[in-house]
Symmetry: C2
Subunit: 619 residues, 2 copies
């Protein structure tokens, strides 16, 4: 072995995270020093995440792996891409972001995901699942054109392999000859019972001790059996490629054209680095399977990686908080759906690996035969709903706003053309806060309104959510979206609406809004109406298609101020503006970075004070 980690020229005496020149010094550490460093990193992770929230278990599981990656590869010349990015905290610490790490997920601080604008060691933005193979293959292909010998490395969790995009990337890359290494981080604990055939397959792979050696043993055994071994080998060989398939390509990845290394022990520094060097030496697409333990090194998290709370718990593989508060729109949605399903056995619930995040766990328990977790596979989910609907079911697909973007074509092609009755529970609509740009739900309104045969409700509190969901299931047809925000409702509403709420104070100025933002807008309007100038208030609940009653109301005013928590182009206020010349839009005009929802509202002009100010300026 060329590099055992103990025979380096430069000796590092102080391995403290403060003192090391990172990532350069990492290659000069011996294994003992690596172990100390990993221990220090774990302490930092636990401290920071306990203060700031974020993903603890997944990051604790990838400390040694990340260190090994930075010792075997040379970032930023070699490009390391962490799929989703919620397991990239160690990478951040090891690439010059240790000192700012305490600002993790805070406004103007270190992002919870990877971002090129944050560091040259983050080649691409990550946040959504299953993209890393595609990005890395693009990078590796460009390297090849450039005549570079560098590597592109994609670190992908097993959960991300339920997404078709990962497969598209593997399928495309497998036939190439680029320096692409896909690290498959297998963590059985992270696999839900529901994510399908691949999960089971990878779980089996985890226990294939010394997979590569096994293949050698089989071949040698057959060779050692002089008389009978050979005929058997021939029998096997005569069955065309069957034996060859067995000896040379037993994994799916090999079938797709990749070389395969592993599984290696993801917490054994030496084993990890040997595996990575083996992969590196092949100079073509390789999958390296790495077994890791989620929560490794921190007893409570290790014992109970999914449910360990205090520092936050996570949705399987996607890293979103997995048990939503009982006081939340998600819970209100999930609980109401259970009640409706009790009375109507046509109702089915569908989630793309977000059972807990969308509040569907109660439905899953009460009606397991009508509950479908399809994996991180929004495209499939939408079309699957179409199949259920064809047979008379009423599918309700609960999906985060930012992820519904994944099934735009399926909504058009498989649901809209045939006007198939499908209900979308669009969770996390609007600003989500500390997850930032990749996760804000600001495009669902433009997206869904650009599709024929759609209807959108945007309730502003739990009771309205319940009423809208009832309508969507029982009184509507076609594609019906009920969209609601992350977090909880501030108000209890005794007169919920499914159309609109209108407060006429005989003003010539009308303030319009919908959804969560109504709470701030109505407070601002109340505040203003204490004074001399009055304004009228319109909350739209059925925001699309825009009804004639809404148009009638709007047409009566000289001055309409529309506050809307959506991207502007394609927004409801833009559509209303197209029909009336009295409307001013106050919307979101670009990506919103990580910060608290409160801070984002302030920045966007959606805080009560800012809304008051805006209204006053236009009176």
């Amino acid at each position: 072995m060329k590099n055992n980690g103990n025979n380096r020229k430069k000796k590092i005496s102080d391995v403290s995270l403060e003192k090391l020149n990172l990532p350069r010094d990492l290659k000069d550490l011996n294994y003992d020093q690596c172990e100390k460093l990993c221990s220090d990193i774990r302490k930092t992770l636990i401290e920071t995440v306990s203060n700031n929230g974020g993903h603890l278990s997944s990051n604790l599981g990838t400390v040694e792996l990340t260190l090994a990656l930075h010792r075997v590869f040379k970032s930023p010349d070699d490009k390391i891409i962490f799929d989703v990015g919620h397991q990239a905290y160690t990478h951040k610490i090891l690439t010059g972001r240790y000192k700012e790490f305490s600002t993790l997920r805070k406004k103007d601080g270190i992002s919870g995901f990877c971002k090129p604008c944050e560091s040259k060691h983050d080649p691409v933005i990550t946040g959504h699942s299953s993209t890393a193979v595609s990005s890395a293959f693009g990078i590796a292909s460009a390297m090849k054109i450039n005549g570079s010998n560098n590597y592109a490395v994609a670190v992908v969790g097993d959960g991300a392999f339920t997404g078709g995009m990962a497969y598209e990337g593997l399928n495309n890359a497998g036939k190439s000859d680029v320096n692409l290494i896909v690290i498959l981080n297998i963590n059985e604990m992270s696999i839900s019972k529901n994510v399908g055939g691949m999960a089971k397959y990878l779980s089996n792979l985890r226990y294939k001790d010394g997979y590569i050696k096994t293949k050698d043993v089989v071949e040698k055994t057959l060779n050692k059996v002089p008389v009978i071994g050979s005929p058997i080998k021939n029998t096997l060989r005569s069955s065309k490629n069957a034996f060859k398939n067995f000896v040379l390509s037993t994994t799916i990845f090999e079938e797709l054209g990749f070389d395969f290394v592993g599984p290696v022990d993801g917490h054994d520094q030496k084993d990890l680095e040997e595996g990575l060097r083996a992969a590196k030496s092949k100079k073509r697409p390789v999958v390296v399977a790495v077994n890791t333990v989620k929560g490794k090194g921190y007893a409570p998290a290790e014992e109970n990686p999914g449910e360990y709370h205090g520092v936050g718990s996570f949705e399987i593989e996607t890293g979103n908080p997995d048990i939503v508060s009982a006081d939340s729109f998600s819970s209100a949605f999930g609980n109401e759906l259970v009640k409706l399903a009790e009375k109507d056995d046509r109702i089915c619930a569908v989630t793309a690996a977000m059972k807990y995040g969308t509040g569907l766990q109660h439905f899953a328990k009460a009606y397991p035969e009508r509950f479908f977790d399809v994996g991180i596979a929004e495209e499939h989910a939408a079309t699957f709903c179409g199949g259920l609907a064809v047979m008379g079911k009423i599918p309700v697909f609960a999906v985060y706003s930012t992820f519904v973007q994944r099934c735009y074509d399926q909504i058009i092609h498989d649901l809209s053309i045939s006007n198939t009755h499908t209900v979308f529970g669009i969770d996390r609509a609007g600003i989500v806060g500390d997850d930032g740009e990749t996760h804000n739900g600001i495009f669902d309104i433009p997206m869904i309104t650009s599709v024929p045969n759609t209807k959108i409700y945007s309730p502003s509190d739990y009771e309205e959510l319940r009423c809208c969901l009832y309508n969507a299931i029982n009184n509507d047809d076609g594609i019906v979206a009920v969209r609601y925000p992350r977090g909880n409702s501030k108000v209890t509403n005794n007169s919920p609406r499914t159309d609109y709420y209108y407060e006429n104070n005989n003003s010539n100025c009308l303030v319009v809004t919908y959804g969560r933002l109504y709470n701030n807008v109505s407070e601002a309007v109340s505040e203003i109406n204490y004074g001399e100038n009055k304004v009228d208030l319109l909350k739209i609940v059925n925001v699309f298609p825009i009804s004639d009653e809404i148009k009638d109301i709007i047409s009566k005013y000289e001055n309409v101020l529309f506050f809307e928590e959506s991207y502007y182009d394609g927004s409801i206020s833009q559509k209303i503006s197209a029909e009336f010349d009295n409307v001013k839009s106050f919307t979101i005009n670009g990506f919103v970075k990580q910060m608290s929802i409160c801070e984002a509202y302030e920045q966007l002009g959606f805080s009560i004070d800012k809304i008051i100010q805006t209204i006053k300026e236009h009176l």
Copy 2:
């Protein structure tokens, strides 16, 4: 064997397509009669497609398979779903649409794809690739909830398996226990050399003679070797699941949880029906591999299925015409890209299995190392482009408007947030004609304009296309789409624009348009301007973001009439209307059925006469 096809009670004497009660009588035919029927069907296919255009080779290849499906299963109780749908002609003939079959792809005629509104035997709409497994699994899941013993059958070509959605469906369904049968139609000739690892894998599978029997033979051989066979079996077994994997699950489909049958001979009625009955008897998810020959039974097509012309030739697997006319926007785009790439080695071309359809074949030949056919995988394609761009390349992704819908999230997440310079050549923008609802390109404007950091050009002739493409590559940044229609340009333009063309006749009425529609609009305007009332004309080429100059011009008029070949919600005219109160939009307000582009224009009010009429009504 229970059913050999020759021992039926009812005897059918006349097997003519005119006389048979279809599909009911099919089960009563003997194999000789089946053969005659298949021959008649082939004649009908050849006659009709030679008159109407459409997909010949793929349909000739699936005649026996479709007959077998209708003999073994009972449609419409059992649901048969043809992925993409361009191989469903025999299915249409066998399910009561023989008499209308001559209207194939004509206005008000039989669709070239599957449509529930056309027949109860078409369970869902098909047209886009890789959706059938998802639809069928949804249907099968609903059947199970209903306690039904019926089957859902998805017929999927090998090309569709490059799409991640097919994999998402398989992954999700493999762990279930529903009556789902996936027919994998393997046609080696339909596989491009470029579509990746899975293509190679399926190609190998094709030559695995008697796959199922092979496994038996191996096991029996080992059992027959009493002393040595057993140790070898034990050695194999001791390597954990290796032997088990070999004997029980050698195909990827089995790894994902499916049972596997085949490959069966797709032109041997008996073999086919035996295979299907074997699959049926398993009463759980099964993949049946069927080997077919594209163009079977029609010598010219059989010998040269891809390039056979006269009745139209086809894009690999997707069924779109694969060699576009030299006189077309696609060719102008493809040829110009070759020229630009000659001078700039950063330019890369990417296609999702549409090399010929998008005119990229010349680029592929000239710069193979910079050309990437990623398979039917638009999601991956967009993110792959992001990876190329990170390394300083300028990726140009040529994709049909209707298929760019598949990568909405990737455009937002992997390109827009980081403002990555990527050029989209959006082909087939606007009405495409006889392919109908599923293929019209009327959503790309709403979709792309709802994403930050985007710019859109919509040239109206070849020279403008060339100039816009030059700008998009050399002068712009972020996401730049150049969109152009199917077919050819009517005009030669000596003064191409990349911003706008404005014709001021001192009118108070301005007529605005862009893209192909400009040709009809400008003719209509010329016609009007021969008369007493004059109108002014504005052609926008850089349609988004809407420039200040455009706004200045529009602001000067009392009356602005905007003709736009796009869906209304999210259209450019809607956006302009939001800023000005003098604009009237004439757009597309819903899905447009199959008919010629000319007929569609007439129906949409976009013919020259209709435009003249509209303008006159508003003067």
